[in-house]
């Protein structure tokens, strides 16, 4: 990608502008966060992200150590070592790579290591597939990582930097996946604003990864002794540990809001931290979306609004922890809901986001009709036309007329 420097950039603390793809935007965000170690292993459609980072390190633009390892499993293990020794880390993966990483991946939240890793979301095998889809991220939605889904290339850059501040917050101390859609965002090229390094340094502060758990001869401790079993202090210790981890996730809802607000104040870009409500206040019904599909969905909403339809949109930014309170507030405003997933729940014959939305509807205290739409699998495009169809079906959603089957948006493309 060609970097286009804004001619107005002369004074310090002024942002610059580049035109780049989503993967490069993530790499720029990582660079601004100044990690100590970046561990890399390629996988489509993530590869160009770690290629950009490797080049930044090779050029000396990023003063990080580069860890070239033999697979995603090693990526996560090596970075756990770095974090336990006090370093700030980054990596990125997706799809089968995430599956291979799974063993150390599920351990990172339990170790309370505040890592940041991009998931350049990709559909899972099989059928063999190298294109976008959110099945990989949805499979690990209960692994204990925070998940934030980006809508735009700019949001990737901003969220990647913010993720470090959220993860390393003492009330959180949990790893974060900044998710952006493979293909649509990873290779989508737009103009993005790059904040000034000094501003970011002040915003983030120095890394603080191992004050609570360390492999450090100056603070010797046994890290992760066996805990549990029946009887004695084991089960009690384990429960307290788990409870603390769950509390950290809940604390993250507050911290994510605070950090997004602070980011907006400093850099002038206010991204919805948990849930974005779009033309919702006077809406009768709404779509729920996640990730890059939201852009086309908003266009479809605008078109429907122009035709007099009272339709709005609820976008999920933070999916884990699930933003229950924000979702309940949004859902309380409408009478019918259509949820568009870019993945499936094999157990429920619907999308996972739909399933969680039903859970949130319960908390509104009133049942409303809801339809599950599944689209955009394996790199398929969810177009304005697809959303128009989803809007039309949602408008007609009535008790007794809702199919128990999801609507597969790209089935007849």
């Amino acid at each position: 990608m060609t970097a286009v420097t804004d001619t107005s950039r002369s004074a310090s603390n002024k942002p610059s502008f580049v035109v780049c793809e989503g993967n490069e935007a993530a790499a720029i965000g990582v660079g601004l966060a100044r990690p100590d170690v970046v561990a890399v292993y390629p996988i489509t459609p993530q590869s160009s992200l770690v290629e950009h980072l490797s080049q930044m390190i090779a050029d000396g633009r990023l003063q990080a150590d580069l860890m070239n390892v033999e697979g995603e499993h090693a990526v996560m293990c090596g970075l756990q070592g770095v974090a336990l020794a006090g370093g700030r880390t980054f990596t990125a993966t997706c799809g089968p790579g995430l599956a291979f990483m799974f063993e150390p991946y599920v351990r990172t939240p339990g170790l309370r290591l505040p890592m940041v890793a991009s998931l350049v979301t990709r559909d899972l095998l099989t059928p063999q597939c190298v294109w976008g889809g959110q099945q990989d991220a949805m499979v690990v939605r209960e692994a204990g990582w925070i998940q934030m889904y980006c809508e735009t290339v700019q949001e990737i850059l901003d969220s990647t930097v913010m993720a470090y501040k959220i993860a390393e917050h003492r009330d959180v101390m949990l790893p974060i996946n900044v998710c952006h859609d493979g293909n649509y965002l990873s290779f989508g090229v737009t103009r993005v604003e790059v904040p000034d390094q000094q501003d970011v340094d002040e915003f983030l502060g120095p890394p603080n990864t191992n004050w609570h758990i360390a492999l450090d001869p100056l603070r010797p401790m046994g890290v992760d002794p066996l805990t549990g079993g029946a009887g004695g202090a084991g089960p009690r210790n384990f429960v307290r540990y788990r409870k603390g981890q769950v509390r950290g996730m809940q604390n993250a809802l507050r911290v994510i809001r605070e950090v997004h607000a602070a980011w907006g104040e400093r850099f002038g870009r206010y991204h919805a931290p948990l849930v974005e409500e779009y033309r919702l206040d006077d809406a009768d019904y709404a779509l729920v979306t996640i990730g890059s599909m939201t852009g086309a969905a908003k266009d479809a909403i605008d078109i429907a609004r122009d035709k007099g339809e009272a339709v709005g949109l609820i976008k999920i930014k933070t999916f884990r922890p699930f933003p229950l309170e924000a979702m309940v507030a949004a859902l309380a405003k409408v009478k019918r809901i259509g949820v568009v997933d870019r993945s499936v729940s094999f157990g429920w014959n619907c999308g996972p986001l739909y399933q969680d939305t039903l859970g949130a509807i319960y908390h509104t205290g009133r049942a409303i009709p809801a339809i599950s739409f599944i689209g955009g699998l394996a790199g398929a495009d969810i177009t304005v036309e697809h959303f128009a169809r989803a809007i039309a079906l949602t408008r007609e959603a009535e008790w007794g007329r809702i199919s128990s089957e999801p609507v597969w948006l790209n089935e007849n493309d």
Binding site: M67, H73, G81, E103, P104
Partner: protein, 450 residues
């Protein structure tokens, strides 16, 4: 901490009674071939008895010295030898009455008592013994050198009775010292409580219960960060053979290929002993394990062990060596090198760790089993670095039959004659292969021949 001294050890089973030791002693002490002047005496075999050696044990609490009324006998605080001063001796022979070993006796031809003085630390008898039946045991030197160093583990680790892995890790970490980070993947090492239970730890150094699959890479990350901030920390793995050769192999191989600056110790007890004695990739052919059982259709493991330390040399990492806890001097020399090497590159030590519980042998003979592994060439002790290639550190040119090793161990109890012959053949082949590597090394690097 007290001091230990070297002494002579006699191996009854190896002595054929040739008497060369006595001749050497007589020559050294009286300049004669007359064995009457020897200060050690082979007690001839009688029916149903084994050979014994009358020899001064240089006791720590010597009765001869206590009995001596004239001050002729004294324990030398520097050498540990019981010194006898002819000028003070009154020939009362009370000393001989106190000695249970016939280590000090009246020699009629000489005209007074005589006893072994260890030839100032270079015993003549040891040098001439053709069957290594007399050893000058220098294990005490190791005790003296390292016993004063801090033990990095707490008391009361819960290893099985007779386990030498606990001995190994205590020795190892004394030498590595406190500026270290230990990773112990699932297995016997954490199983004995080194990482700890329910919030308590068994180690005084930072120690991590790593995954079976990630130990080497995780440590490489730890080391990378400390290098980055300019701190000298030894990153050391205490892993089992499963965490090294099987599920852990990708991680070990990756770290070795990158030559990550870590010290990786594989404690090889030939299987998953901690979790119930299942077979691993380095379980030897014929072994009974709980997943290679013995029955009508199966007679223990059907395939050979992979030769993991040789595979490690193929990675060209900075240092690879095998070791045995029965040869601690050899181990210490290698450990010392490995610690140094691990500051800049990967050092891999493959330590053989016979398991009384899983292999089914009495817990009192673990060290003897270790020793027999080496004496039969079932285990070869060698070291390798990319520059000098491979060399034996304890060559055994006249190995004892492998059958003598196998019969010590319950997991081989079922072996047929054919299976034993097969194992002997593979041991011979493996040692031949290693010899070829040493020849290659010597050809490439004449200076490295030892």
């Amino acid at each position: 901490m007290g001091k230990c001294f070297s002494t002579l050890q006699f191996h009854t089973s190896r002595c054929d009674g040739c008497g060369d030791c006595m001749t050497a002693c007589a020559q050294a002490k009286a300049n004669t071939d007359d064995q009457a002047y020897s200060r050690i005496h082979i007690l001839p075999k009688t029916a149903g008895e084994v050979v014994e050696l009358a020899l001064c044990r240089q006791c720590a609490d010597p009765i001869c010295v206590m009995n001596c009324p004239s001050g002729a006998l004294s324990k030398n605080g520097d050498t540990g030898v019981i010194d006898w001063a002819e000028s003070k001796c009154v020939n009362c022979l009370l000393c001989t009455a106190g000695c249970a070993y016939a280590g000090i006796v009246y020699e009629a031809k000489v005209g007074h008592v005589a006893k072994c003085d260890l030839c100032d630390g270079d015993p003549a008898c040891v040098k001439v013994c053709p069957s290594e039946a007399i050893e000058y045991r220098t294990a005490a030197r190791i005790f003296n050198a390292y016993a004063g160093k801090e033990d990095m583990f707490c008391r009361g680790l819960s290893a099985c009775h007779g386990c030498n892995s606990e001995l190994l890790i205590r020795h190892t970490m004394r030498m590595v010292g406190p500026d270290s980070v230990v990773a112990a993947p699932p297995g016997c090492i954490p199983g004995m409580g080194t990482v700890g239970y329910n919030g308590q730890t068994g180690a005084k150094v930072p120690i991590f219960h790593s995954l079976l699959t990630n130990t080497a890479t995780m440590l490489a990350g730890v080391k990378m960060q400390y290098n980055r901030v300019g701190r000298d920390v030894t990153a050391i793995a205490l892993a089992g053979d499963g965490g090294t050769s099987d599920a852990g192999f990708q991680s070990v191989s990756g770290a070795a290929e990158r030559n990550d600056p870590i010290l990786f110790i594989c404690v090889d007890n030939e299987g998953y002993m901690n979790t119930g004695m299942q077979s691993s990739g380095v379980t030897p052919y014929g072994s009974w394990t709980s997943t290679t059982p013995v029955g009508g259709q199966m007679q223990g493991k059907r395939t050979e062990a992979k030769n993991l330390p040789i595979i490690m040399t193929m990675h060209n990492c900075s240092y690879v060596a095998t070791a045995s806890t029965a040869f601690l001097e050899d181990y210490y020399a290698k450990l010392e090198k490995a610690i140094k090497v691990a500051k800049t590159g990967m050092a891999y030590l493959h330590v053989h760790a016979p398991c009384p519980t899983g292999w089914r042998f009495p817990s009192g003979i673990t060290t003897e089993v270790c020793r027999m592994q080496v004496r039969t060439n079932f285990v070869a002790l060698w070291e390798y670095d990319p520059e000098n290639g491979l060399r034996f550190t304890h060559p055994v040119d006249r190995p004892e039959p492998v059958a003598d090793y196998l019969k010590m161990i319950g997991k081989y109890r079922h072996l047929s004659e054919e299976q034993i012959a097969h194992i002997q053949r593979t041991v011979d082949e493996k040692i031949t292969y290693l010899r070829q590597l040493t020849v290659m090394a010597a050809t490439r690097h004449p200076a490295s021949v030892h």
